[in-house]
Symmetry: C2
Subunit: 457 residues, 2 copies
């Protein structure tokens, strides 16, 4: 069915000729996350092809539209799918492999050896299928990834139906998919060209961090991204260590150093952004850099607490992320919202800091803005892509419900998502994932886990 954008009021004028579309979700509470933050009780969303063609009250939409499939969402919440702005998807295979250890030990005794010994294209294929499965189940419709063999992740994502921004990693040290940074750059170049123009996949380049790359390589990455007009994904000031290294090497903060080499621009997404000064925040604001906030990872690895209220006050676009499952330990964006709100209330000693609404915003439209996709995703609006989730509110722990947004952030989990739609395609219905063979994905992951155990023994 053709892509069409329907002006509902025009259509309403001709109730005798309802337009037939592919899918109608009707009767639920629609949380639009549009600029007016409209919440429509007994609302409806109509989908045709890959796009949203009507949003309004159930009655209003019903008068203008018929659909091939009608889904009753009464008692449920319909909202834009989550944008997880920072993942290392295949690291779900390292979930729980090493917790409660110091960062250096975690990296050097567990993660790096495990990666060196196990990360192959086949590992990435099995692992990213598991990650994609978990994301579909918990309502993430777009994720922003930094890892190795991103071309394999792209194949898995293309098939499973999610939307993603996939950044091929460039790092100074030998990596599982590139012996030298020059090889990684060449891989990134080829990857970007191979996936340019895909309807759901945005290829990108992911320089690991300012302290794990030399200046020449950082500049080459920047040039590559500009040449192809693709996003750059980078870790920024995640740890106090990075701050110390930047001071020692360059006499500057990581943010200020990257500014000095002309690295920043609106197509850059900085992950973590924990150790930034006011001046640093102003650099990000002026350069239009987006930030990915990862509260659980920052807490679990004891990295620190990002200045999120300051980012929001300054007008920096902030999205939420889970980080890799090795440091979270899941990919659940409901938890990311809950942790974001609770963390900053405590840090600011202010129960009003980072409200439920603010966290939900970061998890949806804020994330879309941070990665430059706000014209396509992040809210339920006419003309945007149909990336939608339907959430059950029936559990005892969600009863009673006075405020749906409070409940989404403070009382709901990924498992409450019962329907996930991306680009108009239903990927999960009634809690059953349609675009992946779930038992096969889980079985393959369990087999692979034996190899990982062996690698860190």
């Amino acid at each position: 069915m053709a892509w069409c954008v329907l002006s509902l009021s025009a259509a309403s004028a001709q109730p005798s000729n309802p337009i037939e579309v592919d899918l109608l979700l009707t009767g639920g509470t629609v949380i639009t996350m549009d600029r007016a933050a409209r919440v429509i009780t007994n609302g409806a969303v109509a989908v045709d092809g890959a796009g949203i063609v009507a949003v309004g009250s159930a009655a209003e939409v019903a008068s203008a539209i018929t659909a091939l499939e009608i889904v009753d969402t009464s008692g449920r919440i319909v909202l834009p799918g989550f944008v997880n702005t920072h993942t290392h998807a295949p690291m779900v295979m390292f979930r729980g492999l090493a917790d409660d250890v110091a960062l250096k030990e975690w990296l050097e005794q567990y993660i790096f050896p495990a990666e060196a010994k196990t990360v192959t294209p086949e590992f990435v294929r099995v692992a990213s299928a598991l990650a994609v499965l978990e994301m579909i189940r918990s309502g993430t419709t777009t994720f922003v990834d930094m890892y190795y063999f991103e071309e394999v992740i792209a194949e898995v994502v293309a098939e499973a139906g999610l939307r993603a921004v996939l950044g091929q990693t460039v790092i100074q040290f030998p990596a599982p998919d590139a012996a030298r940074p020059a090889d990684a750059l060449a891989r990134a170049d080829a990857f970007i060209q191979a996936w340019a123009g895909h309807e759901r996949i945005t290829p990108a380049v992911a320089p690991h961090a300012m302290h794990t790359l030399d200046e020449a390589t950082l500049v080459l990455v920047r040039d590559l991204a500009m040449r192809h007009d693709v996003p750059i994904l980078i870790h920024l000031a995640e740890t106090e260590d990075e701050l110390r290294i930047a001071q020692e090497r360059y006499g500057r903060t990581p943010t200020s150093y990257l500014e000095s080499i002309g690295f920043w621009g609106p197509s850059v997404l900085a992950a973590h952004g924990v150790w930034l000064s006011e001046v640093d925040i102003d650099i990000l604001r002026r350069r239009g850099v987006g930030v990915s906030h990862n509260p659980e990872s920052n807490m679990k690895l004891a990295s620190g607490s990002a200045p999120v209220p300051e980012y929001l006050a300054a007008g920096v676009d902030v999205g939420l992320g889970t980080d890799g499952a090795a440091s979270n330990n899941d990919l659940d964006m409901f938890e990311a919202m809950r942790f974001a709100s609770l963390l900053h209330k405590l840090q600011r000693r202010d129960p009003k800091a980072v409200s439920a609404q603010a966290s939900l915003q970061m998890a949806t439209i804020g994330g879309a803005r941070a990665i430059g996709l706000e014209s396509e995703i992040g809210s339920i609006e006419l003309g945007k892509r149909a990336d939608l989730i339907v959430v059950s509110m029936a559990a005892a722990r969600q009863t009673p419900m006075y405020d749906p947004i409070s409940h989404l952030v403070y009382a709901t989990r990924g498992d409450d998502v019962i329907m996930t739609i991306v680009h108009g395609r239903i990927l999960m219905r009634d809690g059953r994932v349609l675009s992946l063979d779930e038992p096969a994905v889980l079985a393959a992951a369990r087999r692979l886990a034996a190899e990982v155990s062996e690698a860190v023994r």
Copy 2:
């Protein structure tokens, strides 16, 4: 069937005469939380009457025991049910009623007016059934409660099959169930006498806090508790405000003030314990006072971060709690564990602070010790009560599994509990609650919610 404690090695000597018991859980990973922190892969737990009569490897137990009912727990985790050491159970009715507001506004504009207008015995009956339902679903087998009309909560708990320590509130101000503190004391006295000796319910008295009671009443509460030999439950130094008030009124910290009036003793459980000095912690240690740590509530209300690593280092018994659902917003002890571990890693800037094992300990045996029930509950050991839960580990977000304890704390939720057993009785089986009419409980709560909405309008 009679209560019996089986010595497994003695029984093993006579394999030809296996003893018949009521229930056998076999094939799962048994996390005992005993002193040796034994984790038994392919383990078994046998239950007869209300008690645990065998714990060991599946083969070992099978050689000695037959059971009327055998439950295959392969691929699942069997662990002691959680001890939620701080709740206001009926406050589930205020879940999400007022979030993201300052504490004073939260209390004075929402919670107090809602309580004054709606809290009746009937309210407490409907609300505590909802709370008990949520706790059975999420694996809590014992909870420690402070509220009004505790005699109604006791009736609900007695019928629904949970175990609880129920503290009748005494507060200086007019309360829903007592106009004056003297009335509250009389209510507490009658409540304690009515429920003394119940096999699952321990009646207690709950003086609200040192700053909401005068000295005479605090001493009368202490005398009442000693006369009946029952626990005392009190909020302690939850907010910096309480610290300030104590300094202004008595020139002491709240802990030191209560020490000065002879309030402390091993039967006291102090909830929150956020604002304590080293000297205060030493008072609690010397007096054998238990502490209930409520990380989510402390974060959400921006109260502060309790010195949990210091408590544990000092040897103070610390349990975990959720607090009331108005400030959490659920009663899920898996979340309490996750928040406890992540919060203190961040606060101490040490990823080793409060490990998964430490949080699981606080949520089970630590909580049992804090409330003085460690000889009956908190671990899977011969002779203890059969308060057990079975947890599914099958979800994508729990795959793969390298370490079951990491997964319980960092990747599991209340909804993963598939079986809950208290005092040998199965309260939930295959995710279906048997001891409450779930649809009726939810429907009654939803009807009551309309009254609550009206009360704060």
